[in-house]
Symmetry: C2
Subunit: 403 residues, 2 copies
């Protein structure tokens, strides 16, 4: 098998951990696999460098930031390669440039345009373990770019796609994807397999293991993704095509997002395009609106409710204020003490009654549902935050996820 | 003027110092000059990275070391560029690659083959300050290489040559080249100008401000080099063509090298090629032999005396032992308690009596001279180490260098 293994900052956090990573890579190689490794900067390094830059400027130039930050991954790649060589594994370190990662020109948030895997491919064919500095590429002018948050995961997935690897293992400090947060529900079970779409829902619902960008790319490139822990030998969770999952469970897991706030607008002026105006202005202010509900009251006035991440609430207020002052909104109110509980599962597509069960669980527990939104494979409910754990545990129970 | 300014590790040792360097660069630019800056890694960074690598391997692969170590200079270049931008100076950071520095393939000790200054040239023409990561280049395959000890100085001199800069300023923590070590002779004076050849003698005699490689390259490329301190505004010392120095002093300075040991071989077998055998074997063992004296005793047996750096004495002994065991050397003795005092000056070329004066000064002070070697512009004398300071001060006095 050709396996791409990606190790995040915590997994390469100090020299001892890099040595452990080397052992794991050596073992994978020894078992007869071809291995390409993608590494992050040692944990803390990137923050240190950002701190240095911020000492000089609140808004440092992005091209300079890319040159600055990309150095961290190069250090880890070199060290891991040296560690592997010392263990007798034929390894070679590569920058993003050498690995053939071409990006667009958006410094600090570049997108991978293309990967020329020739160099990696040739070395792999020679039997070498290739260790690539993640998070970075070069633009057409040959300037270093970085891929933004979660960039090393993206590097790994894109490389796995370009090399047509059999597997792309993402090593972090958690062992995989669980039916729900085990800190809330100790009976939570690790999932053996999960579809891309389910993972996308989990990721956008606050699961921190993988970012949406990486899962989307894995789906697009048809990369079999595994999240597992670099600190244990436990099997992880395979994220793959829905077709590859034989026994599709009705519900895969329960996600909880506490990081939501609710904005309620009462008495919204009844003119064409008012909703579009409000939400476009919010988008221009970089406010990510999630759930939206529009209702008409008995007095024929319109109310609009929506949720935003807590951190963007202040920006949302600024936007809303403008409409209030123009007299297009009668009153506004805000509530940070809410959370979003979601039931995710591909099985929902073909089974009715999944949503009904969720609602009846909430009813049985006397939990009031403020907002509901559904997709083909997800039901999200906004409830008071104080009920968060109770809701998660009750749903976990109701769908028998501990089995 | 187009000025290349190079700042060493101590000069960019922390964020405050980088801010000071930025001020100096900004001032130079404001005075109407075009400026290209070359920086080293922050002091301590390179040693830290070497320590990391040595944690894994006593003999880490050199390509990996180059990728590892080159990151330090990139960090400094990015940070300095950010600091300059914040001060309103239009600056841009560059890796060695972007600066067009092409080297041979000898990782960790690469030699600059060629510089394509187009990128730097264009940016300088646009009025930008270009900040280049020193110490590094790329080989023909595009792999990162580093230039070995003193590499950032080399980068600066080579860039100054390629850009035909008017001046290449090397900033360190010392203010320039002195007639002798001021810690030994407080009356020592800073030299305003000195020729390349004199500087080469000083450098090979242990002056730590500049390495021979950099001075040689400056001479070859006809680069006007200035060594000065980044911690004061004091003028430094200009190192330039002999023709540019109008008033050639008889003697420019007195150099002292304590780092020498003497090897004495008695009763060397009288066969053709024996000396060549001994010194070739020493060269193969990486022992740098400096002064050599061969004498015949009254009994017709040959004695050979030579000096080596103290650190290479053990290796020299190993080589000598082989010849002793073969019976080709009767006896060997070693003396670490010696030093080499040298009188350097281009004026010697045209003036007789400089050497004679040195010998008479030694005689007057009752200092026994063990070995003598001379070049066109230098007289070196090996004496007992205990007389080192006395010899330096007496010579400094005799040639009236305090004037």
């Amino acid at each position: 098998m050709l396996i791409v293994q990606k190790f995040g900052g915590t997994s390469v956090g100090d020299l001892e951990r890099i040595a452990n990573v080397a052992k794991r890579v050596a073992k994978t190689k020894k078992e007869g696999n071809a291995v390409v490794v993608v590494v992050s900067a040692m944990s803390g390094e990137t923050n240190k460098l950002v701190g240095y830059a911020e000492h000089f400027s609140k808004n440092p130039a992005r091209a300079e930031m890319d040159m600055l930050l990309s150095s961290g991954e190069r250090v880890t790649a070199s060290l891991l390669s040296i560690a592997l060589q010392e263990m007798g594994v034929d390894a070679t370190a590569m920058s993003g440039r050498k690995a053939g990662i071409l990006t667009d020109n958006i410094h600090t948030k570049a997108r991978i345009q293309e990967i020329d895997p020739t160099a990696m491919h040739n070395l792999v064919k020679e039997g070498k373990v290739v260790v690539v500095a993640g998070f970075q590429g070069v633009n057409e002018e040959g300037d270093i770019t970085t891929l933004g948050r979660g960039g090393s995961d993206l590097s790994a997935v894109a490389i796995a796609g370009a090399l047509e690897a059999d597997l792309c293992e993402i090593y972090t400090d958690v062992t995989g994807i669980y039916t729900t947060d085990p800190r809330i529900e100790p009976k939570a079970k690790k999932l053996e397999k999960i579809s891309y779409d389910e993972m996308l829902e989990f990721a956008s619902l606050g699961a921190k293991v993988l970012q949406n960008r990486s899962v989307e790319m894995a789906k697009k490139l048809n990369v079999n993704l595994v999240t597992r822990s670099s600190f244990s030998d436990e099997e992880g969770t395979l994220i793959t095509k829905e077709e590859n999952i034989m026994e599709k469970p009705l519900v895969s897991g329960i996600a909880l997002d506490r990081n939501q706030a609710r904005v309620s607008l009462c008495g919204v002026k009844d003119r064409p395009g008012i909703a579009s105006d409000i939400f476009n202005t919010l988008a221009d202010a970089d406010v990510n609106v999630d759930m939206i509900i529009q209702t008409k009251s008995v007095d024929e006035s319109t109310n609009i409710d929506f949720t935003v991440p807590v951190g963007e609430l202040i920006d949302a207020k600024v936007v809303v204020d403008v409409f209030v002052k123009k007299g297009e909104i009668k009153s506004d109110s805000y509530n940070e003490d809410i959370c979003k509980v979601s039931v995710v599962g591909v099985g929902m597509k073909s089974h009715a009654g999944v949503a009904a069960k969720a609602f009846s669980v909430m009813a049985k527990e006397n939990i009031n549902i403020h907002m509901i939104s559904t997709s083909e494979i997800k039901i999200s409910m906004v409830i008071d935050e104080k009920y968060a754990e109770l809701a998660v545990r009750s749903l976990h129970d109701a769908y028998e996820l501990e089995k």
